[in-house]
């Protein structure tokens, strides 16, 4: 899995979200509870969409379309702690029909050391949970990103 991550994230990320670790996110081990990184990945994902002026909320409201989570892989490298300022770097890795793959790197602001990295797989669905393609403006924006990466 390690090699896949490295390969996936060698290129620059498509968006960077910033957040502050909340007390509620720690556990009695004195570090961030591991499930919260999945919440942060979602913060990163949403920020990536906002960067293209294509907010996720519009997808649900205007297009009646949702991006469901089909899979997740997380590698915990070094614990984040309460009050840390965190960057979530997000990168679209692939889009094949209704399936998206997105990669994440979590670091402390101003540091290079990786705290956590992961990949999520998504399926675009309608209200009835049946698969569908992403609506056009979103699809075009994603395709542009992937094409730009290939030619870079």
């Amino acid at each position: 899995m390690a090699r896949r991550y490295t390969a996936a994230m060698l290129k620059p990320c498509h968006a960077e979200a910033r957040l502050r670790v909340r007390y509620a996110e720690t556990d009695q081990m004195g570090v961030v509870y591991h499930a919260n990184y999945l919440v942060w990945f979602e913060v990163g994902r949403v920020e990536m969409l906002r960067t293209f002026h294509l907010p996720y909320s519009r997808l649900e409201q205007e297009f009646d379309c949702m991006i469901a989570v089909a899979g997740a892989e997380v590698r915990y490298r070094s614990p984040a702690r309460y009050d840390d300022e965190i960057l979530v770097r997000t990168r679209l890795l692939a889009m094949r029909g209704p399936v998206l793959r997105i990669g994440y790197q979590v670091v402390r602001a101003g540091e290079d050391r990786l705290l956590c990295e992961g990949i999520t797989t998504h399926v675009v669905v309608g209200r009835d949970m049946s698969k569908r393609l992403l609506p056009e403006p979103y699809r075009a924006a994603f395709q542009n990103l992937l094409t730009a990466d290939l030619t870079a």
Copy 2:
């Protein structure tokens, strides 16, 4: 507030829910994070409805009706800790039109000492968030409870 709680809960509870403290529910203080007690109150509330064979899920699905939270008061007495077995004692305190008041006591199983107590206020609403009365089977069950308390 203390007197109100005591008065409210002198009579036996209407339902008792049992749960085990999860690691995810602790924080770096080494105790249960305070917001989680509101989640446990909800577990107690739902258990009370199930006790009458009137599950909350049926209320949403069959009657298109939701019990929104309008207010909450919580007193933290003594911290719950990881892996504690917890009882949430729940009691319907009042029903006036679309407004419900419900009381809670949280204790460790097998102990008398109060860990936390609270009261939540609710408004029954439809899908459009406008106020409405509880559907009949629920309303009748609640009225029976309150009448039984008066005559006990």
Copy 3:
């Protein structure tokens, strides 16, 4: 309770925290799950301390001192929704020995309408959970705030 809130928050807040509603914070009612407002109050509290250059993390690390939650009262006025940009306005209301009272107002950025308001009561404790006074730099900063309010 309503009157108390109004009286408490007539004066300007001592700090304002900004956050974006996360998908994880919504529930199937389509609005923010009510327990999360307590998490946001904490974000506001922590931001107030940071405003005085007295971060909460330093209190735990340097002074071995914690601000435990002893009580909370919340009034839910109007639901916050996914992706809303939220302001949490926080105000120190009182400090009596080891006891603090703090008030909160939650609004959508750019709007006046109150979504939620609340008061939390805290007890300053050491690692052994015994009551103690706030360490001096924190105590002085809080006292200054309260005095400034009286003379304003």
Copy 4:
């Protein structure tokens, strides 16, 4: 990944935990928010230890030893919903020095259909976060499980 899961969980699980989906665990998609399955995996893990009369809490308190999460892989098959009664089937997959691998299957009680499955990787650490072996009673119990599987 799919093949690995199947292979891993062909044999019967080592423990089964039962839980009820909480309203707090749903999101506005009307299903359980995906990060909560990691919390449920932990409920399963803890239940497995309790089955051997070797609670996780004792590990932290008596042996000053923690089981940190180093990695997680999750496959979401079909959404769990509010009020569902859920079974989390847990199985120790491997122990190599300080590293553990544990597998999970999440189903609705009384149904065979898989809702979610996953694998977590753990490193046993001391308070200082340095790697160490599991304390003897835990180690022996785990070794017995793995040996029993081989000879079964």
